[in-house]
Amino acid sequence: MAVVKPQLVCPAGSLRALTLAVEAGADAVYLGLKDATNARNFAGLNFDDAQVAEGVRFAHARGAEVLMALNTYADARDPLPWRRAVDRAARLGADALIVADSGVLAYARDHHPQLRLHLSVQASATSYEAIEYYRERYGIQRAVLPRVLTLQQVEQVIRHTSVPLEVFGFGSLCVMVEGRCALSSYATGQSPNTAGVCSPPSAVRWHETAEGVEARLNGVLIDRYGPAEPRGYPTLCKGRFDVAGTPADYALEEPTSLNTLALLPQLIEAGVAAIKIEGRQRSPSYVQGVTQVWRAAIDSAWADAQGSGRYSVQPQWSNELGRWAEGQQHTLGAYDRPWR
């Protein structure tokens, strides 16, 4: 795999966020429709057809691409909205579809062969055999890797597939393999795969008690915050639990954000084709701030790779990203895992 300048792929939960991302230097933005066909199915978020069309016009006029996330699994009782979403993406001029469901992939392949397909992280393809499977059957032209591989494993995948790879650079961290997590539906009946949500807001309740503020998810106590403690959103895998008699701790994952700025030269060297910023549910200011930092970082790391200038993580980049990090903490995640 040849070394290329990675595309910067930024989230857009609204037209405002899309505009700011493109102006801040995103090479591509990704967005979803206002329904359960995408994995950020939250009230007040996402795009209707007119907004997609306007977003595509705006982005294309500035040389940026629009990718449509169609990354939940089509409902067995009524798969039609997913097929219609493929039709809509084609009609509205999206540059590619990000898909996880093999039924939806097959529909796109058979009915819109000109439409570029990216394999969503929700398809859980963690090896080159898995990625090649999707290339051979559906002609995918990019795959988004789950946030579980080490840098060495990412390099190994790239060496053995012709499919360009996209990896996560920054944002909220899923500690579980994406697309294979039913924790949320176990607790609430709704999951990323089935409803496009994890730990949905409709199931969250806050209670003031003598011991502190409790955050519950469908009645299950996820965390309890002392008076001086910052409160996080009660995402199920980031709560504090007792394990085998050991009292309250982050048993699965601490509320941290993935931040791979420090690894950018190695990701480029490995041949990564695109870097994804997580956060369609975040504010337009988040999108703007994070995009500006990553634009500068990718330009600098690419110049370094071409032999001009030396890349180093600038303090102002870290400060800006620190403003947006969950729990104000950063981690390199699985790419460089001290827990390995």
Binding site: S102, G103, L105, S127, R180, F241, V243, R337
Partner: protein, 312 residues
């Protein structure tokens, strides 16, 4: 409806494992799935050991299936996977898309190979997806655990089943045991013991049913099993036989647990053969030394943790 003994999801010492399968050989289940699904570091039982055990179970009259690992990340894991998929003495249960590619290629090269099984971690949520996978050479699918029975029936309806290369695709659902809910690259058992994954000291061998995770007010919630997160409660569809039949389910997967499992299998068999009613079977299940309470919310399109209700 038939019974399938699902793969052992925990790491039991060899003697305990052999005792367990000796009991399975005597029991009423028709099919047994063998193999290490969760972690390639659990190396006591190797490919040849599973094959040897499979032969013993086959002699005892069981249909044997070998399962591939669910989360494949390294080259060594791919080598193990290929070895397992390329043999054809026993049918193979695919744990991920890596296995699908190898199995589809093997089926294309040798049309006389036996059909394979789509394991519960292959994401099939609608009929079109099952049709896509059936075309590869699958004969049987295990529905993802979070799917409701109405969805299972819509995906592969008994009146109009999806057709595979050797006839209608058969449907299996996860009917008993701690639910495999998630996988991670991180080992939560090692994390709990403040050990790194590569220096885990194989501590998961100490927990026959995983490590219990409770809320800070004492509600059992999850069970940590290495890189796998399970429900603390046990799925139990013993009161759902009517809905299972309507959904076209042809086999029930019973997932091994440390104590009481032989009786669990007998109780399911008794209900299927109508020698015992579901109410009585449920009452006895509740008395067994099982590691958790009984839930069936997923089957009813509710939160998975909702408890089994007494049948009317």
């Amino acid at each position: 409806m038939q019974l399938t003994i699902g793969p052992l999801l925990y790491w039991w010492p060899r003697a305990a494992l052999m005792d367990f399968y000796a009991q399975v050989a005597e029991g009423p289940a028709q099919t047994v799935v063998l193999g290490e699904l969760v972690c390639s570091r659990r190396n006591e039982f190797k490919f040849d050991d599973w094959v040897a055990l499979g032969r013993e179970l086959a002699v005892a009259g069981k249909r044997v299936v070998l399962a591939t690992q669910a989360l494949v990340m390294s080259e060594a894991e791919l080598r193990s996977l290929r070895r397992l998929c390329e043999q054809d003495e026993f049918a193979v249960e695919a744990g991920d898309a890596s296995a699908l590619r190898v199995l589809a290629a093997a089926a294309a090269a040798d049309p006389s190979r036996q059909p394979f099984v789509l394991g519960p971690h292959i994401n099939i949520y609608n009929r079109a997806a099952l049709e896509e996978h059936a075309a590869l050479g699958a004969g049987h699918w295990v529905a993802p655990v979070e799917l409701a029975l109405d969805a299972v029936g819509a995906i592969n309806p008994p009146a109009e089943p999806v057709l595979g290369i050797d006839g209608p695709i058969r449907t299996e659902v996860f009917a008993f045991g701690r639910l495999p809910l998630a996988f991670s690259a991180r080992c939560f058992t090692a994390r709990h013991h403040r050990l790194s994954k590569d220096g885990c000291e194989f501590r998961c061998r100490d927990d026959a049913d995983g490590l219990l995770l409770q809320t800070t007010e004492g509600q059992p919630f999850l069970a940590l099993n290495g890189i796998q997160s399970q429900s603390a409660a046990l799925q139990c569809l013993i009161t759902q036989t009517g809905a299972l039949r309507r959904a076209g389910v042809s086999s029930l997967r019973l997932s091994p647990c440390g104590l009481g499992f032989a009786r669990v299998v007998e109780l399911f068999q008794a209900v299927l053969t109508q020698s015992l009613c579901a109410r009585e079977a449920l009452a006895e299940l509740r008395q067994l030394p099982l590691p958790g309470t009984l839930v069936d919310g997923f089957a009813r399109r509710h939160a998975g943790l909702e408890e089994v209700m007494d049948p009317a």
